[in-house]
Subunit: 261 residues, 2 copies
Amino acid sequence: MIGVFDSGIGGLTVVRALMECLPGYDVLYFGDTARTPYGSKSPSTVIRYAIENTEFLLSEGAQAVVLACNTASSVAPDLLRRRYDLPFFEVISPAAEMAVQSSRKGRIGIIGTRATVASGVYEALIQKLRPEYRVVASACPLLVPLVEEGWLKKPETAMIVKKYLRPLKANQIDTLILGCTHYPLVADLIQAKIGRRVRVIDSSTGVANSMKNAIEQDTDLQKRLKRNGRYRFFVSDTTPQFENIARSILKRPIRLETHAG
Amino acid sequence: MIGVFDSGIGGLTVVRALMECLPGYDVLYFGDTARTPYGSKSPSTVIRYAIENTEFLLSEGAQAVVLACNTASSVAPDLLRRRYDLPFFEVISPAAEMAVQSSRKGRIGIIGTRATVASGVYEALIQKLRPEYRVVASACPLLVPLVEEGWLKKPETAMIVKKYLRPLKANQIDTLILGCTHYPLVADLIQAKIGRRVRVIDSSTGVANSMKNAIEQDTDLQKRLKRNGRYRFFVSDTTPQFENIARSILKRPIRLETHAG
């Protein structure tokens, strides 16, 4: 089965993309809601959590692991790949590649958590692919709590998004990467504030496509991953709030099981 | 020494109150910044963290423990008192008593995290002291992230505070309890939005006074608590952001030591 972990509930946007892109593949999700959010925490703490989450997914039989969290993807993949002998997929490289392919003027903006932006990993990847491109990043630390509160349509959220996008707008970006799995839930608002001419890239769809390609090319992985259409969702803490967001992302009732993390 | 724990950095407002109220007493602080916030998590998870934090403070020699976190104070004290043979002080009862004494019309408002408000503990305490009083509570889940971002003076914060206070204003409260240790940092804004005639009660000062009274009456506790003016600050995760807030609360440079939690 495909193991997926995230700092909380936002990573379900990646599960939604996997359901569309790789229908029928068994998926085991773990959302670390007891320690959420990761985006304001230090790299060493996020790495420790990523290892613990991977251990849990392995113990439940995962044959491949998706880091459905930009913050974890920005600091943990290298270490996880050295430590465990199985394929890891992260959300950052596919989004960076999509952005590079889509950009016409070579001006790419990135929004993400404080930790993701501080890591500089999007900039590094884009500079490697296209050294001449200009990259501007803006940390949006309040966007996750706003989304988790369900304040998707409130004027305060619109004002805060506008403020966060100001430096990107001033730099006349033509492409914007949503570098956090929560942000697709306010994609319409972000598109409205950054302007119609800017192409908005959702990091959750890229990883599903890159995983599909990897599976097509790897017959061994194809065999190992079961396709019984089974989905299981674990969280380290349950509250009615988390359950509401989970349902609104997946647009179906789901049962959240608990693993203490 | 006096052990103090909080979900993060906000509990330093309690340390500030202890410094004023009980000068010279040794204090050991633990802020669980690696798992912050507690306010959106379930009671069972918060209780588990409260036990782990208490174990750490005991291992470092604490002779009394202050729960400098309204969320932990709303769900954990009874269990901690049964489990450990030492005095526990929490922030809720002193604030409820202050509010009851200060109220003239018997209409008390409470603002706090989602978990604190859901626990109903403030209402229960006030109803026990004054069954005829009317109590209205409003959960303000975005206030902690706004304070942690340092958005103390931004218009968005003012708009959000106004929105959260609306039901309390509609109920014509005469007294308002700040039921979260972060809120004193925006006390001026809250006072402005709720109106000058409403008395605002800070839960962090009440606990320091109630501890002072307890120490005066308990000669045994007096002897056990050392008074060398030593302060130590532990956190489970360090980031520049946390260090900035810590300094702005205590108004002095402090060294944050790490304990992995």
